[in-house]
Symmetry: C2
């Protein structure tokens, strides 16, 4: 009797301690939150046979639409449009030379996205090259400090998801190394990843253009060319992970078909791995889009999630807050 009482008290106090120390306060109670916490507890516990050595605790996160918003267009594209506008204003002849650069300067995104990603890539190359890596980063930093999102009026680096920040912190507190693996530009993301997410530059994997090395009497720098080096999207994500990290992730988090292969790479043929998809279902607090969206298309990956039993975050249901 006394033992039963003592056990009940212990249980209750353990329950209270856990409730007090909720690692994911912006996540509503439910299947999604439970699946995440269960996985982290199982893989960090010596008992239960699912322990993962700290060196293998690799968690990879997509960026656009997973850690920060991506509507009405990828924020890096909005940066490129602003830069294109500056470039065309400074040298109007550019508009005649490149219809895509003109479309960018005019903010005509439909024209840019019409031809697959070709127009987009041309504008990205034009606005992301011909300078040193340091100069590019300074330009992005300046833009982030002043540019405002067209719908919310917030700074772009304020449009990050509070529940995801909690998840990143929770994972790191449990010995997970958190990486960004993004289709976006590696140098672009590195400008704000540490201050926004606590993810240092060496843990950012992304798309990139070729760089060259330039040395003078005063400095030695890398210079960004206009030639693509690597596209870290779809099949490119597992390849980029393998190249940068050299280990397979055990947690992979994404929100679109561009993340499908990364989630497969983390989980296929393995029992002890967690794939998470963020489904944008919240038209009120954020945006609602999936299969038919041009930006962040979520179609095949949603089907695969159902087949494979991946964890799908329903933004509207699962998150009590969206932005900080």
């Amino acid at each position: 009797m006394i033992r039963a009482f003592a056990a009940a008290v212990l249980l209750a106090s353990a329950f209270t301690a856990q409730a007090l120390a909720d690692p994911l306060p912006s996540w509503n109670e439910g299947e999604t939150k439970t699946a995440i916490i269960d996985f982290v507890e199982a893989t960090t516990s010596a008992e239960g046979g699912r322990f993962i050595d700290p060196s293998e605790r690799i968690a990879t996160f997509d960026n656009d639409g997973t850690l920060w918003a991506e509507q009405p267009a990828y924020f890096q594209l909005l940066y490129a449009l602003d830069k294109a506008k500056e470039m065309v204003a400074a040298d109007p002849a550019l508009a005649e030379k490149s219809p895509n650069l003109k479309a960018a300067a005019d903010g005509n995104m439909e024209a840019l996205l019409a031809d697959g990603h070709k127009g987009l890539l041309e504008v990205l190359a034009a606005t992301h090259s011909g300078m040193t890596t340091d100069q590019f980063k300074a330009s992005v930093d300046e833009w982030l400090a002043t540019a405002k999102h067209p719908k919310t009026g917030r700074r772009y680096d304020d449009m990050i998801y509070k529940p995801m920040l909690e998840l990143l912190t929770y994972l790191r507190e449990n010995g997970y190394k958190t990486y960004i693996v993004s289709g976006g530009g590696i140098d672009f993301i590195r400008v704000f990843s540490e201050r926004a997410y606590g993810i240092p530059p060496e843990q950012v994997v992304g798309s990139s253009i070729k760089a060259t090395f330039v040395v003078t009497d005063d400095h030695a720098q890398t210079q960004k060319s206009a030639e693509l080096f690597f596209i870290d999207d779809k099949e490119g994500k597992p390849v980029g992970i393998d190249h940068h990290i050299g280990r397979r992730p055990v947690i992979a988090v994404g929100n679109s078909d561009g993340d499908l292969q990364m989630l497969q790479y983390a989980t296929r043929g393995k029992d002890n791995a967690l794939a998470i998809l963020l489904h944008h279902t919240d038209a009120e607090r954020e945006w609602a889009y999936d299969r038919d969206s041009h930006i962040g298309t979520l179609d095949e990956a949603l089907d695969e999630a159902a087949r494979e039993g991946w964890t799908v975050i329903d933004m509207k249901e699962d998150w009590s807050a969206v932005f900080p």
Copy 2:
């Protein structure tokens, strides 16, 4: 008088403590050892104006000829020769199709090195592709466990430099993050970097061939193609560092002209950075070679070291031990 005595006692005990805790016991006392310890102490001390934030304490090390030996040929080439021999034995028609593969199978290194690096690259491609990354790593692991160095009869991963292991440990104990930045293959080095040097796979930068992503019902893997992706040598080293780490090193260590640009990248235009060159001067315990060597040519970088005041390790004079 009493104060002077107390000061002398303090000084003596501090001296004793430091002597007891020599972080680099295989390094002889002298300019080289002093330069290294002075730099580490200055950059980790709040006083003196040379403090470097732990996040920026990046130290990059070349591998071949810097962390392990590279004579009579790069060890990865010796792996490729052994594999070429196996391949030609299994399928003799290969020898007719590829004179370079035949030269490799015959151990005819002169023929392989005659035409710049072309023959070598062909043999590397043939022996490093057409398998998954996991299969390749398993093959290297097996080879390392059995292959012996032709001169010393040691395992290749025993031919690592004891003083460099001490330096790596000393740097990590002082908050430095240690990286390998090698012209050698990234997947090859990752097989042994953690157990040999304490450097995890995600801190290895190297040359690589293109990979593709292959997914089946049972597994998802990367597959190595025969096409070059990136050569992490000479001008490629700063580019590779920038791509993988996204920060400039403050310590860079190499031994050949292939490391010149990495050392420039770390130090040019900066007061608070350390460039170290290992000069192979010890024909008795290891090898003596520099300007005229085909492997690990040290010519331009030696001149630059003299001009720039870089720290040059004289293996014979500065190291009391070479191998563990």
